[in-house]
C-alpha cells in the first residue's frame, strides 16, 4: 500500500513534533497533525489520510474511543489506524488489535525508524 498522507493524533506536543519530522522528512509523506481525538474525527473525513497514528492515552475521547468513532463513519471506517502507546503489555496490545487497530507502536520509539515501522505494520495488515 502506498502512503502519501499520515495523520498524527497525540495530545503531547513533543511527540507530535518528532513524529511529524520523521513522517515528513524521512517518510516523505504529507502530515496532518492534531492534538485530540475530536479533531481527528472532524478532520479525517476531509483529509483522507492513508494511515492514522493514534495515541491511546489522551483526554476524552481517548484513543480507543476515537477509533470507535472513526469506524462508525463510512468515510473513515477503513482507514488503517496504528495505536501509539507506552502501555504495551502483550495483553494490552491484543486488546488494541481486537478493537480494530492494525498495529501498535510502543513509546518510546526511534524516530528515525518510525516510517519503516509504519510501512512494516501496513504490509502485514
Amino acid at each position: 500500500m502506498k502512503i502519501e498522507k499520515v495523520m498524527i493524533v497525540d495530545d503531547d506536543d513533543d511527540v507530535r513534533a518528532i513524529s511529524e519530522l520523521a513522517a515528513r522528512k524521512i517518510g516523505n509523506w504529507a502530515v496532518v497533525s492534531v492534538a485530540s481525538g475530536a479533531e481527528a474525527v472532524a478532520l479525517a473525513p476531509m483529509e483522507r489520510p492513508d494511515v492514522i497514528l493514534l495515541d491511546v492515552m489522551m483526554p476524552p475521547p481517548d484513543g480507543p474511543a476515537t477509533l470507535a468513532m472513526l469506524r462508525d463513519d463510512r468515510a473513515t471506517a477503513t482507514i488503517p489506524v496504528i495505536f501509539m502507546t507506552a502501555m504495551a503489555q502483550p495483553h494490552e496490545i491484543e486488546s488494541y488489535l481486537a478493537l480494530g487497530a492494525c498495529g501498535v507502536i510502543c513509546k518510546p520509539f526511534d524516530a528515525t525508524a518510525l516510517p519503516d515501522e509504519i510501512r512494516r505494520i501496513l504490509r502485514e495488515e
Binding site: 513533543d14 513534533a17 518528532i18 522528512k25 507506552a86 513509546k107 518510546p108 520509539f109 524516530a111
Partner: protein, 109 residues
C-alpha cells in the same frame, strides 16, 4: 532533505526538548514533595504516575534513554504503591526519589 539535514533537524528538536524536560522533572520533583506533604494520598500518587508515564515515553523518543528507563522504574514503583497495600511507603518512597535523581542524571549523559 538529505540525511544530514534530517539529523540536524532532529538534533535541534532534541535540544529544545531537553530544556523542556528539565523543567518537567522539576515539576515532577514538586509533585513528589506535595505527595509527601499530603501523606502519599492516592490522587497525588496517581498524578505522579501519570506524569512519569508520559515523560518516560516522550524522553525515550527523544533519545534520553537513561532518563526514560529511570522514569519507567518510577512508574512501576508507584504502581506497586498504588496496587499493593503491603508495600510500605517508607521502603518504596526512597526508590521513587532515587529514580527521579537517575532521570535527572540521564539528562547529563
Amino acid at each position: 532533505m538529505s540525511l544530514r539535514e534530517v539529523d540536524h533537524e532532529l538534533e535541534r528538536l532534541r535540544e529544545r526538548y531537553r530544556e523542556k524536560f528539565e523543567r518537567e522533572l522539576e515539576l515532577l520533583a514538586e509533585r513528589l514533595r506535595e505527595a509527601e506533604r499530603a501523606g502519599y494520598g492516592r490522587p497525588q500518587l496517581e498524578a505522579i504516575r501519570g506524569l512519569a508515564h508520559r515523560l518516560m515515553g516522550t524522553s525515550g523518543s527523544y533519545g534520553l534513554e537513561a532518563s526514560s528507563a529511570a522514569l519507567a522504574r518510577m512508574e512501576e514503583g508507584l504502581e506497586r504503591l498504588l496496587d499493593a497495600a503491603e508495600v510500605e511507603v517508607g521502603v518504596a518512597w526512597p526508590e521513587v526519589e532515587s529514580d527521579l535523581a537517575a532521570a535527572r542524571a540521564g539528562l547529563k549523559e
